[in-house]
Amino acid sequence: MSNAAKTGAVLVVGGGISGLTAALEAAEVGKDVFLIERNPYFGGRVAQLNQYFPKLCPPSCGLEINFKRIKNNRRIRTYTMTTVKSVSGGPGNYEVTLETAPRYINSNCTACGDCAQACTDEIDNAFNFGMDKRKAIYLPHEMAFPRRYVLAKEACSAQCLEAVKAACKYNAIDTEMQAETVTLHVGSIVWATGWNPYDSSKLTNLKPESSSAIITNMMMERMAADNGPTGGKIVRPGDNKEIESIAFVQCAGSRDENHLEYCSYICCMATFKQMTYVRERYPNAKIYVFYIDLRTPGKYEHFREKLRTDANAQFIKGKVADIVAESDGSVTVIAENAVTGEKIRQKVDMCVLATGMQPALGEQGKALGLKMDGNGFVVSEPEKGMIAAGCARSAADVYTCAQSGTAAALKAIQTA
């Protein structure tokens, strides 16, 4: 690259599986890479999964090796709790302003955990979708990278702040830390801003707030995970009842122009995968899957065929459009079986809404000058050095995201 106007650097926005992959691929061919992440940890949504299909690997399987590669690569500079404030300039030389929110913990932290023991205040555990509480000073999750605590200062009393500071042997807690602004010059930007689970409270006909027996598929992932709120037990939130029957509600908000117009791609496979979680724990539990179409593209068909043979599982073609909370804590899901032409009212102990993927960048993307499609996904403009990767680009599974990260890196290094 002889063009002097080019900075030679790549900015990767988002440190999930797509961003990690893009950053590593670009750095390993010799580019300088800035990798930023909004959360205090890298790993994104994959870090929250119990297993990912089709091989049902735990997330550590794919993430750990990537973290190691990042640690070993001096060309990658990482920023957590950091977001993009503005982008100016043009391809080959963008000026990007970043803002890093205060973590209140400096690099002295060894993650010994003494501060958390001393901490008296608690907050909802966002990593577990609020299913449990955690201390206001916390390690985001057990395998968090960077391995450093975070302080939720606004949730702490003055007393509590004093207590945690006193408990830290390494002088790592700095409650006066301020938000910082950084300006970078990069040649191209990879947008790997990922997705959020669709807000189930918008599904008014399913009334998800009416019963604690109604959970989302991502909550199910956390429940099934050993480091989750229940230590890997799948029980009904609220009364911890063991599950004798469970219903999966497919397309909860996806393929629906009132919510997400598109197919979220992963929810059918996620449900098949979660059937294995249920089956491992409850060999005789009744499983009901309500669907419009079962979409298991490519090789995933084999996975579906295997799960379809489960004698205690029923697959009902018909979308659940109403859920009634029962007095005994269970719920009744209501659908029309489009094959028999009759309505079915199935009472189950627990109900999982297979909610879809909503692009996390949303409206902010437009403000930053990105080309977005009608659903909020980023449309790549490689000639401008603006490249979308992973679920910022379209709803996708983990391995497609990794491929997309590599593809984005290949495009990004050409403009950088």
């Binding site: 006909n205 397309c251 629906d256 018909g318 979308k319 659940v320 459009a321 209501i334 032409g341 309505k343």
Partner: protein, 403 residues
């Protein structure tokens, strides 16, 4: 069970024209059947009707009581994930069915398209105009004093033959054939629909058939009671405001039916013995009071439905169709011209009063004449479907021992 599918492409095209243009978007998720407050557990709708319509299975739909049981609440359309607007499609199927069962078919076809509006108005307008000219035309327009005394009772002139006034004779000559045609068309339609519904439901020759009295008592009368109470209408969620318009309108029609019946009997029969009954009624006459209350209820009710439909169309909850609007216009026409001619009489403007009264006769004749083919036909067809629904579930059809 294998089904021989014989798609009727023209039917699909017609559906699309009649407000069901979104039909093909449906991907059969069945959300509609669940959110529908009126659909039953055993025979839910409108998911099945959507696929039948997509496939052009006209025969299935023409004999399907569910098509008529739908009150177009719009809950299905509101929750439809594809914008397939099942509520509008069901309305389009009903419009098609009324036409299909309509007799004579040229009249049914005529009444189904907005471009025929000049003819639809022109037929009654011409008939009444010709009758008026035959009756003496402008010679019959009274002076202000006579107008106060006689109102419109000399519209078609006057003679001294005391047993039947000239006016009543002419009105009878116009309206009795019109009403008879309508009644006969309804009879043909109702028997055709009943036959098709029993065929499609696979109800063969019944072992026991209800007597006419049993039929009325067990099936028809409970349906009528339900209609009067507006039970189903009140279950609608997305569009619950319609009850506030439809219920007064229904009572208005019941009131005016009574008033018309009273007038017919008093003018054509009792009037022979008591000629004093001829001429306009006193405003304090109980029948006149009922008539006035009913007229106000009619204008109010159809006004609510009018604004409600406009709002639904503006907000995208419903598609604008001639089928829906024609009935609203006709009823509004009857109400406004009726009240208008009464006002003209009370104010005392004969010439303008005569024009408004003429338009009133035209709109009333339109309502009678097109009743079997327009949306007004829901009056009989939906009642019949509700009756059939009860019959279908009864022991006459379902052997209670066989389950």
């Amino acid at each position: 069970m294998s089904v021989k599918v014989q798609p009727d492409i023209d039917f699909i095209k017609e559906m699309k024209e009649a407000g069901g243009d979104t039909l093909k978007k449906c991907f059969q998720c069945a959300t509609c059947s669940v959110v529908c407050p009126l659909s039953s557990d055993q025979k839910p709708f409108p998911r099945q009707q959507m696929i039948f319509a997509q496939w052009g299975l006209k025969d299935r739909l023409l004999g399907d009581p569910n098509v008529l049981l739908c009150h177009q609440c719009g809950d299905c359309t509101a929750y439809c994930p594809r914008g397939a607007r099942p509520g509008d499609v069901m309305g389009a199927i009903r419009a098609y069915a009324y036409r299909h069962y309509g007799w004579p078919s040229f009249l049914a076809n005529l009444a189904s398209k907005s471009q025929n509006l000049p003819i639809l108005f022109g037929i009654p307008a011409a008939i009444i105009c010709i009758m008026w000219l035959i009756a003496g035309g402008s010679h019959n327009i009274p002076n202000a004093k006579d107008f106060v005394d006689f109102g419109y009772s000399h519209f078609f002139g006057h003679w001294d033959f005391k047993f039947l006034t000239r006016n009543v004779l002419f009105i009878d000559l116009i309206m009795i054939p019109t009403a008879s045609l309508s009644v006969f068309a309804v009879f043909k339609g109702v028997t055709g629909l009943w036959k098709k519904m029993t065929e499609n439901a696979g109800i063969g020759a019944a072992l026991y058939r209800p007597s006419p009295l049993q039929f009325v008592k067990e099936f028809l009368w409970p349906s009528v009671q339900e209609i009067v109470r507006h039970d189903r209408f009140k279950k609608c969620e997305a569009n619950k405001d319609r009850v506030a318009g439809h219920q007064p309108l229904m009572w208005a029609f019941i009131g005016l039916f009574f008033v018309t019946g009273y007038s017919f009997i008093s003018q054509d029969f009792i009037g022979i013995l008591l000629p004093s009954l001829h001429g306009p009624m006193s405003m304090l006459n109980p029948v006149k009071i009922i008539a006035n209350i009913a007229a106000i209820a009619m204008i109010y009710g159809v006004g609510v439905l009018w604004s409600n439909r406009s709002e639904m169309e503006e907000s995208g909850q419903a598609t604008s169709t001639f089928y829906d609007w024609f009935l609203i216009w006709m009823i509004m026409g009857v109400g406004v011209t009726g009240m208008g001619s009464e006002l003209m009489r009370l104010i005392g403007i004969p010439s303008l009063g005569y024009v408004v009264y003429y338009l009133h006769l035209v709109s009333v004749m339109m309502l009678f004449l097109y009743m079997p083919y327009t949306k007004f036909a829901h009056l009989v067809y939906r009642t019949l479907a509700m009756t059939f629904e009860r019959y279908r579930e009864s022991a006459y059809v379902k052997n209670p021992l066989m389950g």
